[in-house]
Symmetry: C2
Subunit: 727 residues, 2 copies
């Protein structure tokens, strides 16, 4: 059983330094710790990446999330030589991650002067005390030998865009170190604590404990370390909090940590019988989702590369609402609500953005940080042929984010039954988003309809298009939702309704008269006005036209004048609104668009997988499911765009894997009041079992080829293949 | 006096082959004949360029005007050696063009085997018989010698995009040759006649007369040739017509030709006292305008490079309406009406174009040929860095053409007093153009106004902009004009009004609610939404950023994200609507925009010149006037864009030169009923004299520093500096 929960590798190659940083990532929502060795430093991309803590480095074009100094830094030296896996050949090496308990381990044997020295380390980021990380470290030699141990806080921080921290002060008090930092832009304080237990004769120098240790042959020498990272509201009582954890000890912290992960898995696990590969990949995806969810804060979203580093500026994208939120709303509604409240809390930034571009209402950021202002620049790609910054339209034209948020908020309300979010800022957010769309849209009097011109849809290879099907349909639904939400609030929270009373008219008119592209005579929905007139070529052909590696296909690049898509766009829409399009329409569009789709984004495959499952393309669905679910296991994704590192974890794909398992294979769908389960399992799956929170009830569901078994139904309306489920 | 009318060069250099082709161009509206030597062929860019006769070469991306075979081809050979200026050094060479009479001459002395041989040739394209060209050729040697003369129809035709003619049949009848051709695309017939007079012992071979001539020392040997080019309606009686010209003889044809040019100059000449350079340059500009005007047809416009070749596809641009039409409506209203009727006659093509891009009404072509369909492609530039075709927006976004035509039509009516054009298709054209703009524009309910989004203005370096000031103001005026024209027709031609009755309402609403950008607190009108936020750099700085010669600054190129403009845009608007903006506003905007303007189009300088004259920047005005007026004299313009030849004459600049002299320096302006003359002459100009046709009266005007003298006023209302002119 255990190996269903263990990710490991029993050898070492240089490429692992970068790759394993993401693959063996630890996270607890507050911070992420890359899967690096304790002796690694900035060059090996060690990072303690902080959620929602941003800064602009001097001379940089954009703000990014801050990586904290590393309080678990530890290196063993013999005769002045560091036992460092990145530079010294190891006799044996094993690295593993237990995704059930969120614990990282390594064991490495070095041979120095004919002596075998074994390093073992176990570490975790506490799930019960988010500021704390802990390490247990042992050294073993097969002969008596004296080694020098250096352990402390490593200030050599990995950064993509430049230095973010000024070091204000350092304290050293016996076995405790403290480093006080300030971010360079806003002078926000960051404190890093370290404590080491189990060493004698410590000398402290420059934030390092240095200790001479006389190892006795074949006798393990063990010590433990704690790290504490504090910023923002956590600062005031940081020292007391850190010391109380140290006092309670490593074992106590670990016990609580494991118990918390057990609790998490009880709500989140999906058990697949008959397919060990799928089981591991899916659980690994769920592990990442749980590692990065903001359990205790509504001040930050989930970064597009999780907490694996600063890629994409550590910012939250529409990925959260459209790919991850379903998982949370069905398994951890507190996290789901935190994520939505984060949008409510950053409404002012969205208002500022709308105003910046000449609109009103709330234009949510393409890359959202702590204030809701957009971290994205207008020049987000470098032209590979000229080296010049390229004007991109991610920031100012990819407007669907505001609709995605409205949609996700309503989905949260419907599935959890918690409509109180509406009067906790939700309805105001909806109003602001819809008013933004109303000011962005145009009315064409001679057609008596609203249109949405000059946007970028999910398929970013086609910029500044008119009437993008995905965007128009999302906005139309957002308008409908706003009207429904107004009616809900009028009924249930009448005292909140008065200020929105006047908005029903225009919102209803907008919803009724907004143009949405319909299927043509062949059942195909045109991705945007004029898409069918573009050059009819597929990604395979475009590939042969490339002049340089890492050519950007968007902008004025190769794909822009052709039918080749970066990622699911119309098919994404069919996935999102799965109850509103017939199987025939889904099939026609899947068949039509799939050959043109590059899947150049990790958001693409799961949309195709879910729709494929719905239309009976089970083999395709399975292929895309495995691709999505194992994206971070294989690490088989673009790591560089030009010279820019874009590697890291892929939370949207992690969410997409869960979505495909639950909505695709288990066939879960829902209306306002009914949950339906219509499984269509891959042939090799004997069963799929999972729990869903549905309107406050925890349902345990098991689907096999022969039927569906559901426990926990009290008041819920649940159907199976459309027929009422008999308990 | 004569040298004020002669363009000449007394030497030869290789670069002249290309340059003089345009500089010494002959034209008669039906065809143009490049300023090449009689012995030149396709390689030396000989072209008999035909107005309004278009074809698509096999494998080409666009249609272009057809160059006819050359019936004046003549070469003298001695001992098998051709006396060809392009390959044989000359002892003496002179080439000249008499712009008063439209006659081209050359005299070249070659030395072969110690014998000096002088070739002299005089040729013209008949202004009274548009199908005809004539040549008088003499050969003189200083010793007795026998030469071989080869003269006939040269089929080696210069083409930019490939072969356009299939040769269907050849006839030879003594001294007459005939070549029948068909265009490759539409199989349109083209006939070329040639006749040679004055030779004995002709052998005819392969469309050449070959004759052995025994020259007697120092005795001129002379012969004449006629060429006839027929297509379209001219075909049926071509032979009789050609023979009757031949029968009447060279001298008769020349006499009539010169008399016609005299008549033309009587209406067109502008006399400048005190500035010979300006005089010659301006007359040269007027010569070109008269050479290329469609005197006898309303089936073609004026190509952007006149009749100097196939550059810009031989197509008509907005250049005609906005830069050339004022000259014609004030000096040759028949040509002006022909040009406007050409637009009426191509309305169907404009309708097709509107439909192609999803609109209704008439979207006039960016590059208009005989059908009104747009010869422009969506990929009109090659990316110099990748060699790939670049998606350009000249065709689908430069919508102001339709408004320019409405504006020009109304200007024609107002200045000539000939409103009958309105019921001869004009009002229908106006309706179709306005309906196009109505379907292109969008209504923004929350602002209660129409806007025009996603266009390209005159400044093509900034594509897909919103609310371009020039475009919005042009459309607003077009809407106003349509309403005025409806009222005029209701009053004067009531029987034509009924079908437009219903259009008054929407057109009025559109005109009233269309947003036009107004001056900001500094008096500056923003060129388009967001222009002020672009990078603040001038063309000089951009130049230093170039990585390659002939880099295209538009598209995604260097200028696109900066404030650098290709050409006058806001200043062009101030020029067009000179009565509607104060001197202060003109000055603020001239000062603001001039430093950002590259003047990368020959349309730019004259707009700046006219406004400069209005605001008292006489030195600037003069500088830009000379630049505009001498553009084809100096040939100092871009000749290549990448590898594409874009040289040739610049009729828009020729028109711009006249506009600057008349509207700028002579200070002519007008309202619906009054002509005003408020001169502001350059210091070195003693006087400017010219004639204007104003509402059917021919006014002769002479302005000096001390006053204005006007003859010919009968019923006209004319003011000088705003005060009624006393006869």
């Amino acid at each position: 059983m255990l190996n269903e929960w263990i990710i490991e590798k029993n050898s070492f190659e240089v490429a692992d330094i970068e790759r394993h940083g993401s693959k063996f990532l630890l996270g607890n929502g507050f911070m992420g710790y890359r899967g690096t060795m304790e002796e690694y430093s900035a060059e090996q991309l060690v990072a303690v990446n902080l959620a929602g803590f941003f800064d602009l480095a001097e001379g940089s074009n954009w703000r990014e999330s801050v990586n904290a100094p590393n309080p678990l830094y530890t290196v063993v030296c013999i005769d002045g030589k560091e036992l460092n896996l990145s530079s010294l050949d190891a006799v044996l090496h094993n690295q593993s991650l237990n995704i059930r308990s969120g614990i990282h381990e390594r064991k490495t044997v070095f041979e120095v002067n004919g002596i075998n020295i074994t390093l073992k380390a176990e570490r975790f980021l506490s799930m019960t005390n988010e500021n704390i990380m802990a390490l247990k470290y042992t050294v073993l030699a097969d002969k008596d030998i004296t080694v020098i141990l250096k352990s402390g806080i490593d200030k050599a921080v990995w950064n993509i865009s430049g230095n973010h921290l000024d070091y204000v002060d350092e304290f050293c008090d016996g076995n405790i170190l403290k480093l006080e930092c300030e971010t360079v832009q806003l002078k926000n304080k960051l404190e890093v604590y370290e404590s080491i237990l189990g060493l004698d004769n410590i000398e402290n120098d420059n934030l390092l404990h240095i200790s001479e240790i006389d190892l006795i042959a074949n006798k393990e020498f063990e010590f433990v370390k704690f790290g504490g990272i504090y910023h923002s509201e956590g600062l005031e009582t940081s020292k007391e909090k850190f010391l109380s954890v140290v006092d309670a000890g490593y074992d106590q912290l670990k016990k609580e940590h494991i118990a918390e992960w057990e609790r998490i898995w009880k709500n989140s696990d999906v058990v697949i019988e008959g397919d060990k590969d799928a089981q591991l990949a899916l659980r690994y995806s769920i592990y990442h989702l749980c590692s990065i969810a903001p359990h205790n804060t509504d001040k930050c979203g989930i970064p597009a590369r999780g907490l694996s580093g600063q890629v994409y500026k550590g910012a939250a994208f529409w990925d959260t609402e459209m790919f991850m939120l379903p998982f949370f709303q069905f398994t951890d509604s507190k996290a789901a609500r935190n994520l939505l409240k984060y949008r409510v809390n950053t409404l002012e930034g969205a208002r500022r953005k709308a105003k910046e571009f000449g609109y009103e209402g709330a234009f949510f950021a393409w890359e959202s940080q702590e204030t809701g202002d957009d971290a994205c620049t207008l020049f987000n790609v470098t032209d590979i042929f000229t080296g010049r910054p390229l004007r991109t339209y991610f920031k100012d034209k990819q407007i669907h984010v505001s609709a995605d948020i409205v949609f996700a908020m309503w989905d949260y309300c419907r599935t959890t039954g918690d409509y109180s979010l509406l009067i906790d800022g939700g309805l105001t957010l909806m109003y602001e988003c819809l008013w933004f769309f109303y000011t962005y849209s145009v009315f064409k009097p001679h057609k008596n309809r609203y249109e949405i011109l000059d946007v970028v849809g999910p398929d970013e290879y086609h910029e500044r298009v008119n009437n993008n099907a995905f965007t128009n349909v999302m906005v139309k639904h957002a308008a409908d939702i706003f009207v429904l939400a107004l009616e809900k609030v009028e009924k249930e929270f009448p005292q909140y309704f008065a200020k929105f009373n006047k908005d029903l008219d225009w919102a209803y008119d907008f919803s009724q008269k907004l143009y949405v592209p319909h299927p043509n005579e062949n059942g195909i929905i045109e991705q945007f006005d004029g898409y069918f007139a573009l050059e009819n070529v597929t990604p395979e052909i475009l590939k042969t036209r490339e002049l340089k590696e890492n050519e950007y296909w968007g902008g004025h690049g190769l794909a822009s004048t052709t039918m080749t898509l970066k990622q699911a766009d119309v098919v994404m829409m069919l996935n999102v609104f799965r109850n509103e399009y017939s199987k025939d329409i889904k099939k026609s569009n899947w068949d039509f668009y799939e050959p043109y789709t590059e899947h150049g984004s990790s958001l693409s495959a799961c949309a195709y997988a879910i729709v494929a499952a719905e239309i009976g393309y089970t083999d395709w669905a399975y292929k895309y499911f495995i691709k999505t679910a194992s994206v971070d296991l294989t690490g088989d994704t673009k790591q560089y765009l030009g010279s820019l590192y874009i590697g890291g974890t892929h939370p949207a794909a992690n969410g997409g894997a869960w979505n495909t398992a639950i909505f695709g294979f288990a066939g879960v769908s829902f209306t306002d009041d009914t949950l339906d389960i219509s499984p269509r399992l891959p042939d090799n799956w004997e069963s799929i079992s999972f729990t869903l929170m549905w309107k406050g009830e925890k349902l345990s569901i098991k689907a096999t080829a022969s039927g569906v078994k559901i426990n926990g139904i009290e008041n819920s309306k649940v159907t199976v293949y459309g027929k009422e489920y008999k308990k």
